[in-house]
Amino acid sequence: MRTHEGHGPAIHVQGLEKSYKELAVLRGVDLDVPRGGIVALLGSNGAGKTTVVKILATLLRADGGTATVNGFDVAREAPQVRESISLTGQFAAVDEVLTGRENLVLVARLRHLRDPGRIADDLLARFSLTDAGARRAGTYSGGMRRRLDIAMSLIGDPPVVFLDEPTTGLDPQARIEVWQAVKELAAGGTTVLLTTQYLDEAEQLADRIAILHEGRIIVDGTLAELKQLLSPAKVEYVEKQPTLEDVFFAIVGGGAGDSPADRADRAVRAVGSHE
């Protein structure tokens, strides 16, 4: 049920500018994000990715340009924008003193939804946190905390979700858990804008990729379109070695919740595929 469905693209940004004192971080950002799917905003540290997200999430005012989210102007229609979005910031924004379940109930109450308890239990089950639901979030591992954080962002079914560097600081296993959660989210029709500095993350997750560099979006397109920017692929014969990541997952197994049999199976495939 989407009560605040707007029109046009999910996100429309034009000529966005923002300076911190003398430092011009954004110098005219243009970006269109169609509805549905995952868009990765790629850029090195300090490129202004977080600034873009904060402006879109109504936490920061732009100096110039316009931005609409779900058809609502972030400056003039901030309350409607807040109805349309949820934000998962760089640091997992969970309340460490509350339990996982209480965190979810808190957000459901603040979104004025009926039956917060049921919503919380459903999300705990969906994110494999049911067993940990009664424990304080402060005792969670990095991956669990992120999953809880993302679960909190889904409450109220907002049409647009911002994930600001969702896997920074996570171990490889937790990273895959988060990727899985993001894919499920997009599969449900939600528009996801995620920022990342990891190229493989963008490659894994995103339908479209926008590269933010020196305050502007310099490239924007699908992975295939981006690849075409370079000269056509040339054919080279290289002996393919397994990457360290392949080895790591072959040995310790993939995402959480796998049976040992699954893991062994994947280990064989991971090693076998590089012969």
Partner: protein, 253 residues
């Protein structure tokens, strides 16, 4: 969304009260310092202090209550600072909730926590021989003054919590507030103090609040003290609230 302000504040208040219930040490540490001070002054210095007819603990309690509040509000700055550091503040800010409810929840939590600390301190004072024949109305008046005083100081704590750069900075501002009662009529009558000190002591907010509370406890006429006390509290409240709100707006510009 104005109709949600009360509901949102109540939900967030429930959250911070859970924090307190799960770390009751914040209430205990708030009460311990003033209780230690009370023991020290009554059983060590008290014998040498002449306050007239009433027992020294009865004389001392109003000032001790203000010290309790001054040390208790530091936790509001601390909790607010942690919220801002942890990212949950930004989550709340990006949600469709009344923005002021985030601050009000912290302020009301401070009120609840401080009132519990106050009750603990009063119970200890009763054990130490504090007695008052004050009626229900007088107690209500005392409670009213303390509530307004707590609100005023808490909004100062909100400014500190919003603008602090470190945890230490967020709570350090309360030290001068804890010290202020010493240069007032809280511990000793002001008439033995040298001229300029006495002038300061007689005209700072703590003295009027302490005198009004003391007279209410002693069933004496409160005269103008209570109005001066209330004027100070409301004045500080209004100014601190205005600064806190402007600091709050700066966090979202």
């Amino acid at each position: 969304m104005a109709q949600h302000t009360l509901g949102d504040t109540a939900v967030l208040l429930g959250r911070s009260l859970r924090h307190i219930a799960r770390s009751p040490d914040t209430i205990i540490t708030t009460a311990v310092t003033p209780i230690a001070m009370m023991l020290l002054f009554v059983y060590v210095f008290g014998g040498a202090i002449d306050t007239g007819s009433e027992s020294y603990v009865t004389y001392l309690l109003p000032g001790i209550l203000l010290v309790t509040i001054a040390s208790g509000i530091a936790y509001t700055a601390y909790r607010l600072f942690l919220d801002m550091q942890g990212g949950i503040f930004e989550r709340f800010q990006s949600m469709p909730i009344a923005r002021s409810s985030v601050l009000w929840a912290h302020v009301l939590t401070s009120l609840v926590a401080n009132m519990i600390s106050i009750v603990v301190v009063v119970l200890v004072a009763l054990l130490m021989g504090f007695r008052s024949g004050a009626g229900v109305l007088a107690w209500l008046a005392v409670a009213g003054i303390l509530v307004v005083f707590t609100l005023a100081l808490t909004w100062i704590a909100v400014i500190a919590g919003l603008s602090a750069k470190s945890v230490d900075g967020a709570s350090a501002f309360s030290y001068p507030l804890i010290f202020l009662p010493f240069i007032s009529s809280a511990f000793v009558p002001t008439d033995t103090m040298p001229g300029p000190v006495r002038a300061f002591a007689d005209n700072q907010p703590v003295t009027s609040i302490v005198d009004a509370t003391r007279n209410l406890f002693a069933q004496q006429p409160v005269g103008t003290d209570i109005w001066v006390a209330l004027a100070w509290c409301v004045g500080i409240l209004v100014v601190a609230y205005a600064f806190a709100m402007s600091a709050y707006r700066r966090t979202v510009s």
